[in-house]
């Protein structure tokens, strides 16, 4: 990996989350360093998506702390998280099906738009300038992800693989500091996975974006991540560089399986 991995920018301490009587996460602690690619792996139901939801403010943990760039937060709401520089994709695609690809990506930049609705109605000065400015930025993302040919297509009509790519685009359009990806390669064929890998690596390489990634494909995880966290039944059972984790007996027993 070419870039310099920096200091810890996201520190999660003793996070516990329950829904009614069900404990989704128990006392989880790990950190994420700037510019790294951090994978979260584990069997289904281990709490990986819940973990991501906690980081990004969709769920609020009953216990624990989130420290982002030195600031202590018990929890954030989604709006604060977005403003702080978190962007994410979802396991089941959460695109706005009624809008075109371009509009979906432009929505990703919503927080950066300052004009109010009356200026929009009049399509005057600041509103128009802003729209064109952000359009330029979004076109850069479109270029990067090679989706120019479908920019005006309503998202609902696109094949699954492209939808996933558009979702990544929407997250990138926000120019995030930390990108949270929830199974970005689920359901893709080999070619699509390779493309997606390339994009993720490029984002990390060229833009320096820190990436936290949930993924089931072990090949991908071992290949592209700098460090890995392993969850099982809501508890952390492994944490370290891919090679370490691969050989951790607990992880093997719970998830990876041994070679016979």
């Amino acid at each position: 990996m070419a870039r310099q991995i920096g200091d810890v920018i996201l520190d999660l301490r003793n996070i516990s989350l329950s829904f009614g009587g069900v404990k989704a996460l128990t006392d989880i602690s790990f950190d994420v360093r700037e510019h790294e690619i951090r994978a979260i792996i584990g069997p289904n139901g281990a709490g990986k998506s819940s973990m991501l939801n906690v980081i990004n403010g969709v769920y609020h943990p009953q216990q624990g702390e989130i420290i982002f760039r030195g600031e202590h937060r018990k929890d954030m709401d989604t709006h604060e998280a977005a403003a702080a520089g978190f962007a994410r994709t979802f396991q089941n695609i959460a695109l706005f099906k009624g809008m075109s690809v371009l509009d979906n990506l432009m929505t990703g930049r919503n927080l950066k738009m300052k004009a109010n609705f009356m200026q929009h109605a009049l399509w005057w000065g600041p509103a128009k300038r802003e729209e064109l400015e952000h359009r330029k930025k979004v076109e850069e993302v479109i270029d990067f992800l090679e989706i120019e040919h479908i920019r005006k297509t309503p998202v609902g009509r696109l094949p699954y693989g492209l939808q996933k790519r558009v979702e990544l685009g929407r997250a990138l359009a926000a120019e995030p500091q930390i990108l949270l990806l929830d199974e970005p390669m689920a359901g893709m064929n080999v070619e699509e996975k390779q493309d997606m890998c390339r994009f993720i690596l490029d984002v990390n390489d060229q833009l320096g974006t820190t990436i936290v990634l949930i993924e089931h494909d072990m090949g991908v995880v071992m290949d592209i991540s700098d460090r890995v966290v392993v969850l099982d039944y809501g508890k952390k059972i492994g944490d370290g560089v891919p090679d370490e984790v691969k050989n951790n007996p607990e992880v093997i027993a719970a998830y990876l399986g041994t070679q016979h």
């Binding site: 998506s49 939801n53 969709v58 979802f90 959460a94």
Partner: protein
């Protein structure tokens, strides 16, 4: 105090009748996930069919059976020609389709049966029960009481049906997940036909009771609209909820109608009747703010 009890009891009794209408909604929602806005129109159509058949010379029991057959056919036609074609669409679209359906039925009914107001005589009389009048000096209509008894009986029967019979379980399975139900061999078409038949039956009983109380006329459809606040209070998927919701709405709207206007006339002068028209809805609104899923409904969880 007696007056208060009178109004309260009157309200509770009419509330049971609201529950009956709400029940039709619950049944269809439970089985197909569709909120059938046309239920009110169906009550009206059922009542008109009943009265129409009687007008053609049939005795009550025969007219009832004929009307039931008509309602079942109507339901099956609805399912086949409208709902089945909209399987993939959002619930809101289905809801709007049922609004269209209600208009269609509201036009069809008078076309077939004429639109004069008709009296429906089912042998119950709207008179104060002498025993209660003598002993407690309160006016409680014998009609209301009988009707309430009938309605409660029906509701209890249906609740048992859903909970304890095989068919009832199948209905609940279908409501939960059509695909899954299909995959375990539940015959979807038969189930839906059954559901609409039961909903039609309920609409018929409701139409019969309301119709004989107030006359069979177009205003029946508005009565049925009142079932919506009942559902909100009770939860869309709960049969007992429909009863409890109905009782609360019936009682509170009558009490509000009696006690609020004088107070407002005191403040503002003038006449403030007609509170019944909006009070249930505002109550439902306030209730929704506190408990969106109703008293007995299921909490809706959005998975991300």
């Amino acid at each position: 105090m007696q007056f208060f009890l009178e109004v309260l009891i009157g309200g509770l009794l009419s509330g049971v009748m609201y529950s009956l209408v709400a029940l039709g909604f619950v049944l269809i929602f439970k089985a197909s996930g569709v909120f059938n806005f046309a239920q009110g129109a169906m009550v009206y159509f059922a009542a008109l069919s009943l009265v129409g058949c009687m007008g053609m010379g049939a005795p009550l029991w025969l007219a009832f059976i004929l009307a039931f057959v008509i309602m079942t056919l109507l339901g099956i036609a609805t399912e086949k020609f409208v709902l089945r074609k909209m399987v993939n669409q959002a619930p809101i679209a289905l809801f709007m389709a049922t609004i269209g359906l209600s208009f269609f039925i509201e036009g069809l009914a008078p076309l077939l049966w004429g639109n004069e107001v008709r009296a429906l005589d089912i042998g119950l009389v709207d008179e104060p029960i002498p025993w209660i009048l003598d002993n407690f000096n309160m006016v409680v209509s014998s009609f209301d009481l009988t009707a309430a008894g009938l309605a409660l009986g029906l509701v209890a029967l249906l609740a048992l049906f859903f909970q304890y019979t095989r068919v009832g379980r199948a209905l609940r399975a279908v409501a939960d997940d059509h695909q899954a139900a299909l995959s375990i061999g539940i015959p979807l078409q038969h189930i839906w036909a059954l559901v609409w038949a039961v909903a039609g039956f309920v609409a018929l009983v409701a139409g019969m009771l309301w119709g004989s109380r107030n006359g069979v006329q177009f205003a029946l459809t508005f009565t049925a609209l009142k079932a919506l606040p009942v559902l909100i209070l009770g939860g869309f998927t709960s049969v007992p909820g429909a009863i409890v919701g109905g009782l609360i709405i019936g009682a509170s709207e009558k009490l509000a109608e009696i006690y609020i206007p004088p107070v407002m006339a005191g403040w503002f002068g003038g006449n403030f009747g007609g509170i019944e028209g909006w009070f249930p809805y505002v109550m439902a609104l306030l209730f929704l703010l506190v408990r969106p899923e109703g008293l007995f409904g299921e909490k809706h969880i959005d998975r991300v």
